[in-house]
Symmetry: C2
Subunit: 324 residues, 2 copies
């Protein structure tokens, strides 16, 4: 794919992956609706296979490869949800996935990637080491690099979550998605605007990692630096493939503080009996804090994932703000 996907390509991605991905449920909560004064529809991607929406993009990328492209397997150097998602997607296709992880990666993440059949290469915990180690795997084995978000096949796959949500829940006025590297938000924006040109697409970002907010304002990519936020999935910067889509199709980006994110996680826990990771809680945090309001409107929210480190989760919920 050499240009941004359109809705037909997102539909094609959906046909390609739908026998393997979960059609995740849409949850509602009367008590949370009452708190925010709007009608919310939560797309539960934390119940997706491998625990996050990332499995959609990874599957679409892996299943899109020609036999020749796929023959030597795939490689990535993400240590987050993309690593597990890619390993699992590759296992469905029956090809190897090489995952470059920093030697400091939490045991639980290493175990998850191994459990999905990923072949792990450890490296020093620097971006340079990760990139050079991945480059070696590419050179030595011929595996194909699958970027976690700056890839049109990934973007098309991520767009299938909003496609499912909007086919199930009609007449949404808004759709809110967290934004880190921008794969989910850009795919969501393409699906949403194609299915309903009147819908407003809102990116939701931690105030402590507001690079997408600033990039959209500036009209050019402003990298994230080294942001300190509990929302570990949202510390990355936009890419040259995700940014133009967000610039052109996303209506606004709103921010949430660390305290607001933790409070929103707790409300999802208490009221919805669901475990979401901090990144997932950012849209609800913006609604609860009033930094985004839409009284009486119908709002779709993408709950992006549920992969939380158990102890860190508890500590952050008990103590308030806690950077991992």
């Amino acid at each position: 794919m050499r240009k941004p996907p359109d809705i037909e390509e997102i539909r094609a991605a959906h046909r390609r992956i739908r026998s393997v991905v979960h059609k995740t449920p849409v949850a509602t909560s009367r008590s949370i609706n009452a708190m925010v004064g709007a009608e919310l529809f939560f797309k539960c991607e934390h119940l997706q296979k491998a625990g996050a929406f990332k499995f959609r993009g990874a599957c679409n990328a892996v299943f899109s490869l020609s036999k020749k492209e796929a023959s030597c397997g795939v490689v990535t150097h993400s240590s987050g949800n993309h690593a597990g998602a890619l390993a699992l997607a590759a296992s469905y296709r029956g090809i190897p996935a090489y995952i470059v992880m920093p030697s400091t990666a939490p045991a639980v993440k290493v175990a998850a990637v191994k459990g999905y059949g990923g072949m792990i290469t450890f490296c020093e915990p620097t971006l340079a080491a990760r990139e050079s180690t991945a480059a070696k795997v590419i050179q030595n084995i011929g595996a194909l690099l699958i970027h976690p978000y700056n890839d049109y096949r990934i973007i098309a796959g991520q767009g299938t979550a909003a496609l499912e949500l909007m086919e199930e829940v009609r007449d949404l006025d808004f759709i809110l998605a967290p934004v880190g590297g921008g794969g989910l938000l850009s795919g969501t924006a393409i699906s949403a605007k194609a299915l309903n040109p009147k819908i407003k697409v809102i990116g939701c970002e931690p105030q402590n990692a507001d690079d997408a907010y600033r990039s959209k304002k500036a009209g050019t990519i402003i990298p994230a630096g080294n942001p300190q936020t509990i929302a570990d999935g949202l510390r990355t910067s936009l890419g040259d493939k995700t940014f133009p889509i967000i610039r052109d199709f996303v209506d606004d980006i709103v921010l949430a503080t660390e305290e607001e994110i933790i409070s929103a996680m707790r409300i999802v826990f208490e009221r919805m009996k669901m475990v979401v990771e901090p990144s997932s809680a950012v849209p609800l945090a913006a609604l609860l804090s009033g930094s985004f309001t839409a009284p009486g409107r119908r709002i779709g929210i993408l709950l992006s994932g549920g992969n939380v480190d158990f102890s860190a989760f508890f500590k952050s919920m008990m103590n308030g703000f806690h950077v991992q």
Copy 2:
């Protein structure tokens, strides 16, 4: 209802309540299946309105009342899930619910009952005070007592959860439910045996509150005393209406230790991204510990509720065994 409900009465209960209760989803987990070596189907009553299966029985009881019976409202002295469930059920019928609660009840439970429109009368934290206070409400106001489990209308309502599960998932070999007062287990047993006479119905109980286990062995009700278990919903004793059904229709009762219950809660949290209360985790605890095994079989599990005190939940999960 003067005799135990049969499947037709449970079907009638289902017709009576189904426009108001959630048809809760059935969740599965490949990783938990792999751990226990069987195929599990979790009926998610923690996602029921008011956070527990109790809403089914409360609705059936409240909606079954004649106009005259309902005219002065309903009363109960449960401080657990039944209190919130009864208050919410009464609000749907538009009649008052009088809830007698001990003065020591946690603020979160008081707030829940108030939020559902219940009228709270506080009393000393003893069973005698609770019963005498409820008796006064009955005498002064004429409200009708709705017992949390020892009532055939309640039992019929609770049986609708297994009815929905077995209509959605065919050919279950076993169905597992926690047992406290026995309302859920007895209703489950009636539904399950009627729909599939070959199914085995297994009650699951904390080892520290094993009165149902001992009662079934002895052939007579042995009260619970004052059991110390984190599974606060299962500290009650069987009643004269629930016990004979459990004696006659339940195949076995299996036990789980406190550590096994906490471990099972944690696995539901980590693998299924769901928040269940300790009582809900007892069946999975029995499966994970091997105190109940059924290799390769299809097993239905009733996840009974998700109403956990946030801080107590975290503490228990972090510290291991913790009695509230």
